[in-house]
């Protein structure tokens, strides 16, 4: 889930913003170059941004906590467009969700970027690359990206929440509690994310291989 | 067969598209719905098969009240062809798209195959069966969208501008097919802008204007009121304009066939005779004077 507006104390919100903006800036530089060299990649960029928006808006209730959880979509974008571009797309999706569905927020944008846009993209991408290098098939590697990206995102989010809400308990204790309580929802979600990521990537590879970036797909 | 009663519909965006439409289409009719762009034709057609359900008024199709609940049942009896083929076709290949409907009807595979071949033949896309649908020209997509509905062999056929962007031969072929199907008992309702085509095939016409029925009835009821026709952004068939040169004509012909009969009749009955003889005299006098 995205952290809503108002949950984080001011200093924590600011602390998450700094690295988030660094990643976003780096991503924008790369994306700008990509769009200049390859104007025809615009539709894919827009489409993936929209897909992340839609995917990370499918709510599933988390038992016991009264909050909701959802898949991320950033691992898939990272496979198709690279982790830095996926970071930008994830950030944009988060901003639009905050504006139109109050899902996430403006001051918590930085924290959410770090967990979903950066964490999901890079962890997912790394899992994909490692799996490919280990000789796993395209579908399975994409699935791995989905699982890992999803779980890492939730690990980070739980940590951020624990940091903000640990009260008088220790951070690791609350973090563990939060992570554990997400687990019953998160495991099925991670599997769903894996199936989904694998499905889309394989489908595209079969139907329109030319839209895949060859360099990214190599084992 | 179709009965629309006091139908009103306002789009969520705000446009009042239907403003009290009532219409009765008996079984076996061939009805053309005409009207300016934005007059509500598509909106009306979507109510007939239940894609939209009215905020006021009622629609009955093939003996069933059209409701959200009866949607499946109604669509078993009715075939609906969308205005934009890109809205309608979705399966990966032409073949899959044509077979989609028959399969959902639960037909056995050999019957599905028969219908596939027949429908592809009817719109002349037999040689495209294995093409992915995004590798078709626009007119080919239009043909496919019609085939997919024909293959379901519905009792009522509702078509939203089926002839737009078909080539003239495809247009004639389709209209003849509709004519034959209609002869065989199928009720056909089509929205169209082609004024020249309507009198050739349709037997009833309904004119919409700003979400209301301006006039509905036989061909003559509609085409004799020229002023109304122009207010609805339509015109007479081109052939009619030719016969404006004979100001004494009671009724302008609407089709080439009618025009031909008219001309022949004029010649037979000598209506033209005096004119011709006068002209001949003038010409002769002119020649003599020169």
């Amino acid at each position: 889930m995205h952290i809503p507006e108002g949950l984080l104390p001011a200093e924590q919100a600011a602390a998450w913003y700094a690295p988030a903006m660094a990643f976003l800036g780096a991503g924008l530089v790369g994306l700008k170059r990509r769009l200049a060299v390859l104007p025809s990649s615009r539709p894919l960029v827009g489409l993936m941004g929209a897909f992340i928006f839609v995917i990370s808006l499918m709510p599933m209730p988390v038992p016991g906590l009264g909050t909701v959880s959802h898949p991320c979509g950033t691992p898939m974008a990272a496979i198709l467009l690279g982790p830095l571009t996926a970071t930008v797309l994830g950030s944009v999706a988060l901003l639009l969700q905050a504006l139109f569905f109050a899902h996430g927020g403006i001051t918590s944008w930085g924290a959410n970027i770090i967990s979903m846009a950066v964490g999901g993209s890079f962890a997912g991408f790394a899992a994909f690359k490692l799996s490919r290098r280990a000789g796993l098939g395209l579908g399975i590697s994409a699935g791995m990206a989905g699982v890992v990206g999803d779980l890492v995102t939730y690990g980070i989010t739980s940590f951020q929440i624990a940091l903000a809400l640990h009260g008088d308990e220790s951070v690791p204790y609350v973090w563990g509690a939060a992570f554990a309580s997400f687990l019953p929802t998160q495991v099925p979600l991670a599997i769903a994310e894996a199936l989904f990521t694998a499905g889309v990537v394989v489908f595209i590879a079969n139907q329109r291989a030319e839209i895949l970036d060859g360099a990214l797909m190599r084992p | 067969m179709i009965r629309v009663d006091g139908l009103e519909y306002t789009y969520p965006g705000g446009a009042k598209a239907l403003d009290g439409v009532s219409l009765e289409v008996p079984e076996g009719s061939f009805l053309a719905i005409m009207g300016a762009n934005g007059s509500g034709k598509s909106t009306l057609l979507k109510h007939i098969n239940g894609l939209l359900t009215g905020q006021a008024g009622s629609v009955k199709t093939a003996g069933m009240e059209v409701r959200r609940k009866s949607f499946e049942e109604v669509n078993r009896a009715i075939g609906f062809v969308f205005q934009d083929p890109n809205d309608q076709i979705f399966a990966p290949t032409v073949r899959d798209d044509i077979c989609y409907g028959p399969r959902n009807l639960g037909l056995p595979e050999n019957e599905v195959g028969r219908r596939l071949e027949l429908a592809a033949e009817q719109v002349a896309i037999t040689d495209l069966l294995d093409r992915p649908i995004h590798h078709l020209s626009y007119g080919q997509k239009k043909r496919l969208s019609i085939a997919g509905v024909l293959a379901m062999e519905p009792r009522v056929l509702v078509l939203d501008e089926p002839t737009a962007s078909l080539d003239p031969m495809g247009e004639r072929r389709l209209m003849r097919l509709l004519h034959d199907l209609n002869r065989g008992g199928m009720t056909v309702v089509m929205a169209t802008h082609d004024v020249d085509l309507v009198p050739l095939y349709a037997r009833q016409v309904c004119l919409l204007r700003a979400g209301r029925v301006a006039v509905a009835g036989g061909l003559r009821d509609v085409f004799n009121d020229r002023e109304l026709i122009e207010r609805c952004h339509l015109r007479l068939p081109r052939i009619s304009y030719l016969f404006e040169m004979f100001p004494d004509l009671e009724e302008l012909p609407l089709t080439v066939g009618m025009a031909r009969r008219e001309l022949e009749e004029m010649l037979e009955l000598g209506e033209l005779g005096p004119v011709v003889i006068d002209r001949l005299r003038e010409v002769k006098e002119g020649l003599a004077g020169a």
Binding site: I3, P4, E5, G6, L7, L8, P9, A10, L28, L31, K32, L35, R42, P43, L44, G46, L47, G49, A50, V54, L65, G66, T67, L89, V92, A93, L95, L96, L99, F100, A102, G105, I106, T107, L165, H166, G167, E169, V174, G199, F203, R208 | P12, G13, L51, N75, R76, F82, N86, D87, F90, P92, Y100, G101, N104, L105, H134, G148, V149, M152
Partner: protein, 255 residues
């Protein structure tokens, strides 16, 4: 069923004094309100902001049902904040359940957090629901946000509509050919829908980006904002005054 259902732009196009305020003024106002909401660290401040925003929503006639939908997400989090604080924070134990103790002072802190979440959520919601994205993007550009970023925002937004439109188109087409008349047919149809959706949106996107290029696509952000007017001045002064009061409240008032 209709392409327009479920998007907030319907409201944003509507004419209310809120949607007519210059988006640059709104951005500054929202930034200010969110900052005091967090930094104020006072439930009075948050309560004042929440009341002010609720008032705006009523005055701006933002559709009632949508209001509820919009605060659904922050609301679940607000509940979460209350329970978690009651468990994790404080010393004043009022009840125990197994290994968990419930603290009264933690509970109050949770209430404060909940209030802050609701207030912040409302601020963002009012911004989102009364500002067409296009104007927001123009304002972002005015504030020197990177062009690529704004372009991606616009691209993403447009493709959201395309996904929604293609989805409803395909779904309608499938329904009218009985694709959802039974469980089996529905399964097959949903698979076809899922598989084709991506490609269809992509194809359509390709064609419309071609169309954009034909008409000289350079910058996606296209258009200009008219200079701020009297309404913007009034809005600016009102919000500044409010923020001023809140700061005083935060400095002097109870924490």
């Amino acid at each position: 069923m209709t392409e327009s259902s479920g998007n907030n732009d319907n409201y944003a196009w509507g004419d209310s004094f809120l949607s007519r305020i210059d988006p640059r003024v709104k951005i500054v106002a929202v930034a200010g309100l969110l900052a005091v909401n967090l930094a104020g660290a006072s439930y009075l401040v948050s309560a004042a902001i929440a009341t002010f925003m609720a008032l705006l929503m009523v005055l701006g006639r933002i559709p009632y049902r949508r209001q509820l939908l919009m605060i659904a997400f922050p609301f679940t989090f607000a509940l979460f904040a209350i329970t978690s604080q009651a468990v994790f924070k404080g010393s004043d134990i009022v009840a125990s359940l197994g290994p968990f103790d419930f603290h009264l002072d933690g509970f109050y802190h949770g209430l404060f957090l909940a209030l802050r979440i609701i207030a912040g959520g409302l601020v963002v919601v009012v911004l989102g629901v009364t500002t067409p994205l296009n104007r927001l993007c123009l304002a972002l550009r005015w504030f020197r946000a990177p062009a690529t970023f704004v372009e991606v925002v616009q691209l993403t937004y447009r493709y959201l509509f395309d996904i929604h439109a293609e989805f409803s188109r395909m779904h309608e087409a499938q329904r009218s050919r009985l694709g959802w008349s039974s469980a089996g047919a529905g399964l097959a149809s949903s698979r076809m829908l899922g598989g084709s959706l991506f490609l269809r949106v992509y194809e359509r996107g390709l064609r419309s980006s071609e169309a954009m290029r034909c008409r000289g696509a350079g910058n996606v952000v296209n258009g200009t904002l008219s200079p701020p007017g009297r309404l913007d001045l009034v809005a600016g002064i009102t919000v500044s005054a409010l923020i001023g009061c809140l700061i005083v409240l935060a400095l002097g008032g109870p924490a």
